[in-house]
């Protein structure tokens, strides 16, 4: 590989506000290679794609095209330079035909306007080059996602693209479609294109790619020849972090089963999910974003309907699709999206805390303001909430304090099963430690805690047991002793745990 890379990044950094999305990342894409980009959620892969495709401009570092520094002022510049991106779900014009989509804005012309015959021939030739069969006259509406991706690839080829970036192209494809896509990718590689391939499935990287660059927390880790490393090496590169002492989980004896989920299925979202959470336990639900963890939590709590299966709380079956029934049974859900689902941002702290327990602050038919305020004040003290007045709207609070209001709202109900979805996302380290301490205390007092988290250190530090989901299925259950970053990531990326 001593020829000049067609496109490369050299020491590129990009920050969004205080968040440093990528730091000093370098990446070379050579003609005739399929290069994998690996990393956990939030490692910076999407940012790299957006820099390469001209959506974001790097704060520092350089982009080199054929060894010469270039600047992409926008996606049009990148396209001009021969960079094309194939997304997970392409956006075609549904009412136009396949060939019209391919040549949109660059239709071949004859004396009488658009030369449909030449356009049809050109489209057919592109499909021959790719080795696929598609009808140029077919409307884009009704094409499978796999076929839509092929149309996008043909469009890229028609623009003489030399670098093809595929951002999780296989996430929505079936096995046969993946095989066909890999065939196309191999053909393109042999014709001298450089491909950048992003996937959460390790086996795909090992099947298709020649080299792999790994990112972790926005930083460059390594670039390896696929032939030189094992999947376990790669997982270690992706996660290799030290665990810190942020997580004060106390040892507790698990009591009787508080929450029992049996073969819960929601079609197209999750399938056959079964597990139990006992009193005093913290069970983590790990997996990649999109694995269906939040969806399971929403179904258990009655936000969404389920198609099959059952949920039992303390031995009693729960009525489906009713948050009220779930709450009456002792469930509480601290949802993923604090600002949209957890809080009514315009309402005051006390009213938000009171909202889930209106029955408890009632005196006769009326709401007692004194009871409402006392409930809020008590929990504000217990959770060390920082606020000026309880009548202030919650949108003046910091993220961490907002999360405490959500927790107060639910803890004030005295739940027997607490489901927390990304409980520490976007909150400062100090509050994070408080939330961890709180969850640990709750478990010690006999509450069954189900914690969804995308942060592996949090999962490993807090959980008595770790359940791992991959593409809508529960693929592994690991005890505290078995759970390591490697074993959890291996299961989450679709390699069965040993």
């Amino acid at each position: 590989m001593d020829q000049t890379p067609v496109l490369s990044l050299s020491q590129v950094s990009k920050a969004f506000g205080a968040v440093r999305a990528v730091r000093e990342v370098s990446l070379d894409l050579h003609p005739g290679e399929v290069h994998a980009l690996a990393g956990e959620n939030g490692a910076g892969k999407s940012t790299i794609v957006k820099i390469l495709s001209g959506v974001h401009r790097p704060d520092s570092g350089r982009i080199l095209l054929d060894g010469e520094p270039v600047e992409f002022a926008g996606p049009a510049d990148a396209q001009q330079a021969g960079v094309a991106v194939i997304y997970q779900e392409p956006t075609l014009f549904p009412d136009l035909s396949v060939m019209e989509n391919i040549f949109m804005g660059r239709q071949p012309r004859s004396r009488f306007g658009i030369d449909r015959r030449a356009m049809r021939a050109a489209a057919a030739e592109l499909f021959t080059r790719l080795g696929v069969r598609l009808d140029p006259d077919q409307p884009a509406r009704g094409l499978s996602i796999a076929d839509q991706q092929l149309v996008e690839i043909a469009k890229a080829l028609s623009r003489q693209a030399r670098v093809l970036i595929m951002d999780e192209p296989t996430a929505a494809l079936s096995g046969n479609e993946v095989a066909r896509l890999f065939g196309v990718a191999t053909t393109l590689r042999e014709q001298g294109c450089a491909l950048l391939f992003i996937s959460h499935r390790l086996e795909e990287m090992f099947e298709l790619c020649t080299r792999v660059t790994t990112l972790r927390d926005g930083a460059y880790v390594a670039t390896d020849l696929i032939a030189d490393i094992t999947p376990d090496d790669l997982v270690r590169r992706m996660v290799g972090r030290e665990l810190d002492a942020l997580f004060p989980k106390q040892e507790t004896d698990a009591g009787e089963v508080a929450l029992k989920v049996g073969r819960l299925t929601r079609e197209g979202v999750f399938t056959d999910v079964s597990f139990e959470v006992r009193r005093g336990e913290i069970v983590a639900l790990a997996g990649l974003v999109g694995a269906g963890r939040s969806e399971v939590a929403r179904a258990i709590f009655g936000i969404d309907r389920w198609d099959a299966g059952s949920v039992e709380v303390a031995g009693r079956r729960l009525r489906p699709a009713s948050p009220t029934a779930a709450m009456a049974a002792g469930l509480a859900l601290v949802p993923e999206d604090r600002r949209q689902q957890g809080l009514v941002m315009d309402l005051s702290i006390e009213r938000n805390i009171g909202l889930a327990g209106l029955a408890a602050v009632r005196r006769g038919p009326l709401v007692s303001r004194a009871a409402e305020r006392k409930r809020a004040a008590d929990w504000a003290v217990r959770l060390r909430l920082k606020y000026a007045r309880l009548a202030d709207p919650v949108n003046v609070l910091s993220g961490g304090n907002q999360q405490k209001v959500v927790l107060a709202k639910w803890l004030a109900r005295g739940p027997s099963v607490l489901i927390v979805d990304e409980p520490t996302r976007g909150i400062d380290v100090g509050t994070k430690a408080e939330v961890h301490r709180l969850l640990s205390e709750l478990a010690a007092s006999g509450v069954a805690v189900l914690m969804i988290s995308s942060e592996l250190p949090e999962v490993l530090g807090m959980a008595d047991r770790v359940l791992v989901m991959h593409e809508g299925r529960l693929v592994a259950e690991l005890s505290r002793a078995e759970a390591t970053e490697e074993s959890v990531m291996a299961a989450a990326t679709g390699r069965r745990a040993a």
Binding site: I303, Q341, L343, V344, M345, L347, L355, L358, L366, V367
Partner: protein, 322 residues
């Protein structure tokens, strides 16, 4: 919350100001019979504004109230012509109102349609039905006991106003001091978060529309007896006056904000302005212009207020109110 209270203060100051100006400058304003006429004249708008306040705080709207009123009037006239006793007709009218509200409520909550579209549809539907039932005839031979009661007064206070006051207390308590009221504010501000907190969003919205329909038919009874005339076109256009009063009263058209006392003051303010201008022999076109101006001001003012506050010190606010 604070901006709402400040807005109410402004409406109150305006109301007092207009009353003082009219008492001093408009002949015939400040006497008992005019005051009682003025109060009586706002009855239907006030009644419908009570439930409209709850509906709009819940981030919905009911534009079919005046058509429901008309349909209820038509049913009353038709049944009276058919010889039914009025004591039996009145509950039937209330039931018709409840049904109209239930139709709106079901379309909004079960089919998930926007209430703006639904109630524009039923606005035409209910009024059309009223014409089908009664045609363009006017039923005027109504029992004097009831027509008399609708215009009777206790001192300067009309009996109908006592009804309004009683129902206003009920509506204010429901909105501001019950769990349902808390839930209405929450779901009007963020429906998803309210649902995640166990609020029965659909059930509450459904019953708000039913209440709105019942209140419209109650208003139809007052209207029919007051004018001693049941017609299919009764109360045409009143829905806009109702929505206008609610918005002027400080209720956010986006839901989640507002108070009932504010709305009641706005109903009065609009009534007083209208009454005073009529007494002052101002042409009808100008009347509409002034009402419109007040409305535009009520939508603009909160935003202008924010700009004003940014430029000046907080102490100026007291002055800007007058």
């Amino acid at each position: 919350m604070n901006t709402v209270r400040r807005w109410e203060g402004l409406i109150f100051v305006l109301l007092v100001g207009v009353c003082v100006w009219a008492s001093l400058g408009v002949d015939g304003f400040a006497n008992g019979s005019n005051v009682s006429f003025l109060l009586l004249d706002t009855t239907e708008i006030a009644l419908m504004a009570l439930t409209m306040t709850l509906v709009i705080v819940a981030a919905e709207i009911d534009l079919s109230v005046a058509s429901t009123l008309g349909l209820s009037c038509a049913v009353l006239g038709w049944l009276w012509n058919a010889g039914l006793p009025i004591e039996m007709i009145m509950p039937i009218c209330l039931l018709v109102g409840a049904l109209c509200g239930a139709v709106n409520g079901l379309l909004v909550t079960r089919l998930g349609l926007p209430s703006l579209a639904v109630t524009i549809g039923t606005f035409a539907l209910f009024r059309g039905l009223a014409y089908v039932i009664l045609g363009d005839q006017a039923v005027a031979d109504l029992p004097p006991a009831y027509t008399g009661l609708a215009t009777a007064s206790i001192g300067p206070v009309p009996v109908a106003t006592v009804l309004v006051a009683a129902l206003a207390v009920v509506a204010a308590v429901v909105l501001h001091a019950t769990g349902v009221g808390r839930a209405v504010f929450a779901l009007g501000s963020n429906e998803e978060a309210a649902y995640f907190a166990g609020v029965r969003v659909k059930r509450i919205k459904f019953w708000l529309f039913v209440a709105s329909g019942v209140m419209a038919s109650l208003a139809s009874l007052v209207y029919t007896f007051r004018y001693a005339s049941a017609r299919a076109d009764n109360g045409m256009g009143l829905e806009l006056a109702v929505v206008a009063a609610v918005l002027l009263g400080g209720v956010s058209i986006f839901g989640g904000r507002g108070t009932l006392p504010g709305v009641l003051m706005a109903v009065l303010l609009l009534g007083v302005v209208r009454n005073a201008l009529i007494l002052a022999d101002v042409a009808n076109e100008v009347l509409n212009f002034v009402t419109g101006l007040l409305l535009v001001a009520s939508v603009l003012a909160p935003n202008l207020g924010a700009v004003w506050r940014r430029r000046t010190t907080p102490s100026v606010e007291g002055k800007s109110a007058s």
